[in-house]
């Protein structure tokens, strides 16, 4: 009866008219709306839940991602699916007054929380917020030094299209960093993690945010996301070169990096 039993019954990626929404199959056109519902619902408590659910470790995953970006003062960084602006705030300090950070997300509620938070933290001036879809980035070709997408790609309906769109707007030599839940490298760890995400997370979601459904979706969407090697292949197919990944916390999370040729 547990949700894990449904794993692998359905094809991993979108096919034909339907796509995955967690473990459910939904019409491709409906996924966006459903994902929006999830993030509308979690936006106001997102940061707190993030800390709670990952025991604060998401900050360390992000820290390493930023190191791998090797972003320098004066550069332009695009943080896609940037949500409440965690990465954007950090990049803002690195690129400085001469640089620019674009915080992009499809969801207005998440962006609104992000904007408030950036102001609260005194991050103003070089961060711009833009509501846009990762699959159709409205930026000129070859205009961005570095793109990050943290815990966002799994929510995107057509991941291949999104990766191609990222490749297009990056400058040659620019880099993409994808931080995303992945496949634990150890089967026992995988089981513990399953127990945690399918039983504990929705409960936490229910107690703290009174919203177990959204957190169930988050757990399910993690399982539906391509594993390390698959994502690496997808990045190569989208035209990125020198692609590599680093597992973190036993592969629960991986950060992939690719360069635009």
């Amino acid at each position: 009866m547990s949700t894990q039993d449904q794993r692998g019954e359905q094809p991993e990626s979108a096919d034909g008219d339907t796509t995955d929404f967690g473990f459910r199959r939904v019409k491709r056109g409906d996924k966006e709306q459903l994902v929006r519902g999830v993030f509308d619902s979690v936006a106001s408590r997102y940061d707190m839940m993030n800390d709670l659910m990952s025991a604060g470790i998401h900050r360390l995953w992000k820290r390493f991602t930023i190191e791998l970006s090797a972003v320098r003062p004066g550069q332009t960084v695009l943080d896609i699916a940037g949500g409440t602006g965690d990465l954007a705030a950090r990049f803002s300090r690195i690129v400085g007054a001469d640089g620019k950070v674009i915080l992009a997300d499809i969801n207005a509620s998440m962006l609104a929380v992000g904007r408030d938070r950036l102001i609260d933290e005194g991050v103003v001036g070089n961060v711009h917020t833009v509501q846009c879809d990762a699959q159709a980035l409205a930026f000129p070709d070859n205009s961005i030094d570095c793109i990050t997408i943290a815990f966002g790609l799994r929510n995107v309906t057509d991941k291949e299209k999104a990766l191609r769109s990222m490749e297009r707007v990056l400058k040659p030599g620019g880099r993409l960093l994808v931080l995303e839940f992945s496949k634990p490298t150890n089967p026992v760890l995988e089981q513990v993690y399953d127990t945690y995400s399918f039983r504990v997370l929705p409960l936490m979601g229910k107690w703290v945010a009174n919203d177990s459904e959204s957190y169930r979706y988050l757990a399910e969407s993690i399982r539906k996301h391509p594993d390390q090697e698959t994502l690496l292949g997808m990045m190569e197919d989208a035209g990125f070169v020198n692609c590599q990944y680093h597992n973190m916390t036993g592969g629960i999370v991986a950060v992939h990096r690719g360069i635009k040729a």
Partner: protein, 212 residues
């Protein structure tokens, strides 16, 4: 890089914050550090095997990174003990000459940095809360306090604390037997969760029957 980047990131951000805090209480040292802005020094630790880049940014803040592409002025290679000896030395220049540390590039920034760091009084605990958030940071701080028996260690030297930390750090990838044991424990926990779940279901069923 065979350590988990998240664990290294945790240790480095805690250290970074501890140093930043200490610097706010030591304006002279902070000013001296500011004068070193733009310096990048790589510490190549061979045992345990970790590379750390120490960067001093424009604001004079010290940053510790496990990955960096900055052009470095100095690269120092050696074991953790060699580094600890240097950090805690009264006469760093002499220590440096006599130690097994291998230096590539300019030694001056290294000695200058050592001189600054030796002047400040670093509190290792509080920053964990900032690094990991209230809940996790507090838990970890509590654990570390117990671990280092921090309460009685006020007089303990930095050297001692550091070497204990490094010792533990060396254990970050636990030996197989220990892992096996951990996995067995986890497996047992899983079974208990399953039993608990079916018990809850039985209870819920009984409650429903009772209600009707």
């Amino acid at each position: 890089m065979n350590h988990d980047p998240a664990i290294i990131a945790g240790a480095l951000s805690a250290l970074e914050l501890a140093i930043a805090r200490a610097l706010t209480l030591a304006p002279v040292a902070a000013k001296e550090l500011e004068d070193m802005a733009g310096t990048h020094i790589v510490i190549e630790c061979t045992r345990p095997e970790i590379d750390v880049t120490i960067s001093i940014d424009e604001a004079g803040q010290l940053q510790l990174k496990q990955y960096s592409e900055e052009a470095v002025s100095t690269r120092v290679r050696g074991s953790a003990e060699d580094f600890i000896a240097l950090v805690t030395a009264d006469d760093p220049a002499a220590t440096l000459i006599n130690s097994k540390l291998e230096i590539i590039g300019n030694t001056a920034p290294l000695l200058a940095l050592q001189a600054i760091l030796s002047k400040i009084d670093i509190d290792w605990e509080a920053p964990l809360v900032d690094a990991l958030g209230d809940v996790a940071g507090h838990q970890l701080a509590k654990f570390l306090r117990a671990f280092f028996s921090w309460s009685q260690s006020a007089g303990k030297s930095l050297r001692r604390q550091l070497s204990e930390f490094i010792l533990e750090e060396g254990r970050l990838s636990p030996p197989n037997a220990e892992l096996e044991h951990f996995y067995q424990e986890v497996g047992r926990l899983g079974l208990r969760v399953d039993r608990l779940q079916s018990r809850i279901q039985r209870l819920a069923k009984r409650l429903r029957e009772y209600d009707q």
